[in-house]
């Protein structure tokens, strides 16, 4: 294990992804083709965008369990409005406003009311889904109206032969990276996540910064929702009560963003997303049964986490703070 001692979890997971890639490339004809690789990235680009959203808030030592519920409710509402005759742009703007408002409410609950993020967002997620189902739209699955067909380009179109969701994923990653690296509030975010008391003493406006984190998360989540809706011409609000949000957390944690906050960056999300993408794609090509796929997925994820625990043992700080 000494040999691996210098490796971070991100590198381990990246190695694992490469190894899997290599294995699939040798074993499965047709895996290592441009089209399949594009398809692979496309299929996980929504997961990746959500991963960036979750990553930001986890780096700030929070978590957002309402991410997927909010995404599906706000986009479903926007689609429902456009279906009932509202111009697409206006409907989308209303959905976005709703999303940002709930994001701000999340941040307020965490920063000012001081409810632990995991409980605040869990409750808000349930609330938003229930509220949406009861007041905002009637059906489980809301379709993209014919008048809004132009939206589909975002999810189904290609640019220079590359599917558009990949560009959007890249753009969100880039924006997230630049934000964390160069924006003042991005640096504050990391400082707050690393040590909230120290950040406060040095004069960082801690509470507004936390609110900002959740607003940003809801914004990126909304983008992911639009891409989802555009790529399948509908929004399935059942996602809100599925385990999808845990897949997102998995991508984040797997990539090496510690739940104790302050660690990692967008690169970790990309690596985590790629591993999941390679796994899913390879298993679908091999036509492995769905339930067996879950077993394999679980085992590989556990392996990555176990390796990380062995190579990077808990230090004093994580021992004191706990993981979450």
């Amino acid at each position: 294990m000494r040999l691996l001692g210098g490796l971070s979890q991100e590198q381990i997971v990246f190695g694992l992804a490469l190894l899997l890639c290599l294995g699939f490339a040798l074993a499965l004809p047709g895996f290592l083709t441009t089209n399949n690789l594009l398809n692979l990235v496309r299929s996980v680009s929504i997961l990746g965008i959500l991963g960036v959203a979750m990553g930001l808030v986890v780096i700030g030592r929070g978590i957002d369990l309402s991410l997927v519920a909010l995404m599906s409710a706000s986009v479903a509402w926007a689609l429902h409005l456009s279906e009932s005759g509202m111009p697409l742009a206006q409907a989308l703007a209303i959905g976005l406003a709703f999303s940002l408002f709930v994001g701000a409410a999340n941040g307020w609950l965490v920063a000012y009311v001081e409810i632990p993020a995991i409980f605040a967002t869990l409750a808000v997620g349930t609330l938003v889904y229930g509220f949406g189902r009861y007041f905002l739209f009637d059906l489980d699955v809301v379709y993209v109206a014919d008048s809004a067909r132009s939206l589909l380009w975002l999810g189904q179109g290609t640019l220079l032969g590359i599917p558009l969701p990949i560009f959007l994923f890249a753009a969100v990653c880039l924006a997230g990276h630049l934000f964390l690296r160069y924006a003042r509030s991005g640096r504050y975010l990391r400082a707050v996540g690393d040590n909230i008391l120290a950040a406060r003493i040095t004069g960082v406006p801690v509470r507004p910064n936390i609110v900002l984190q959740y607003v940003l998360t809801s914004l990126i989540g909304y983008v992911a929702g639009i891409v989802t809706a555009a790529s399948v011409a509908s929004m399935n609000t059942r996602l809100a009560i599925s385990t999808y949000v845990y897949d997102v957390i998995l991508v984040v944690v797997l990539g090496g963003i510690g739940l104790s906050g302050g660690k990692g960056g967008i690169r970790n999300v990309v690596v985590g997303t790629l591993l999941i993408g390679v796994l899913l794609n390879g298993m679908t090509i091999m036509d492995i049964q769905y339930t067996v796929q879950n077993v394999i997925k679980g085992v590989i994820l556990l392996t990555a986490i176990v390796i990380d625990t062995i190579v990077n043992p808990r230090d004093e700080q994580t021992a004191q703070q706990g993981d979450i």
Partner: protein
């Protein structure tokens, strides 16, 4: 002659009295007991979840048929949670409604509860997805037969003898759902006799369109000469259709559902190639009829087992009419 004359007069009088009675109308002797047998009865409906075309359509149909008769119709919505559904049925067993209409999420989960409900004297009607335990009534598609018909369609479309590549893919919903299990049985029955047809992918997408899309995209990638995809639900297969459209390939998409307007729209615009329809308003009517039947017979629950398979229609762009699909009633 005398006695016969009296008889004639008597007969004439009786006739006059009879016609006089007929002019005022006579009461239908079955009417009173018919209406009496429904007054104050309760029917509880436990679908997998409300909020999608099938369950909303059944609820609307049952409501329309039962409420005017004075039957109380109530909905317990477990919203995709099997636990919540089991709890709803458990509490219904102690509340003792007269009928429970249940839509099973899978073949096992509710089996024992349904038996208990019948033992408690509650009639149990199952709709579309059956439990491994048979109750008073099952109304729904004959999924094994449906699978066989779909298998035949796939063979017709894709057999190399008919100019197809012979390669097909299947996207199921949840593997344990009755709709998936029985239907696979039917498809397998047919495909086992047709070795020229190759099933290149058989995956489950959890009734979710995004998963269905990713699966279809990968399969088409691997098998550019794929001939057809059979999907198990039209709502989920908008994802499959998106993948086919993006690939630019000519893949025949055979899906299925309750025949909501969305299915016809998507046939018309070429999203689906063919939809197998079990007509939801018809199923609702079948259920309502069986409930009326049970309430009038007043036999103990579980005495008889009736299965009513819903007739299937294979809809394509060419054979569909405006009446082929139905619309959800606007919410009041």
């Amino acid at each position: 002659m005398k006695p016969s004359k009296t008889a004639l007069i008597a007969a004439a009088l009786a006739f006059a009295a009879g016609t006089a009675g007929a002019q005022e109308g006579i009461d239908d002797p079955t009417r009173a007991p018919y209406y009496e047998s429904f007054v104050g009865k309760r029917v509880a409906y436990v679908p997998v979840a409300m909020g999608f075309d099938l369950t909303e359509g059944w609820a609307a149909g049952l409501k329309e048929a039962l409420e005017p008769l004075g039957i109380v119709f109530e909905i317990r919505d477990p919203n995709w949670s099997t636990d919540a559904g089991a709890q709803a049925i458990t509490s219904l067993i102690s509340e003792k409604p007269d009928v429970i209409v249940v839509h099973n999420p899978d073949v096992q989960s509710y089996a024992r509860l349904l038996k208990k409900a019948e033992e408690a004297g509650i009639y149990v009607v199952q709709v579309n997805m059956r439990s491994s335990y048979s109750t008073d009534v099952f109304v729904g598609a004959d999924y094994v037969g449906m699978g066989e018909q779909i298998g035949q369609r796939l063979v017709e479309k894709c057999s190399p003898a008919n100019g197809g590549s012979g390669k097909i893919a299947i996207t199921q919903g949840v593997l344990t759902a009755a709709a998936s299990i029985y239907q696979m049985q039917g498809i397998t029955n047919v495909l086992s006799q047709h070795p020229e047809i190759e099933l290149v992918s058989n995956q489950a997408a959890d009734w979710d369109s995004t998963k269905a899309k990713n699966i279809a995209a990968t399969v088409i990638q691997q098998h550019p000469d794929l001939c057809a995809i059979a999907g198990f639900w039209d709502v989920m297969d908008v994802g499959t259709a998106a993948a086919i459209k993006e690939s630019g390939k000519d893949v025949y998409l055979l899906t299925q559902g309750g025949g909501n307007r969305m299915a016809c729209d998507n046939l018309a615009n070429g999203t689906y190639s063919e939809v197998v329809v079990y007509f939801v308003p018809g199923q609702a009517r079948d259920m309502a009829t069986m409930i009326k039947h049970l309430l009038q017979l007043k036999q103990p629950a579980g005495t008889t087992k009736t299965t009513l398979f819903t007739p299937l229609t294979f809809l394509t762009k060419d054979n569909m009419t405006p009446a082929s699909c139905w619309d959800l009633p606007p919410k009041s």
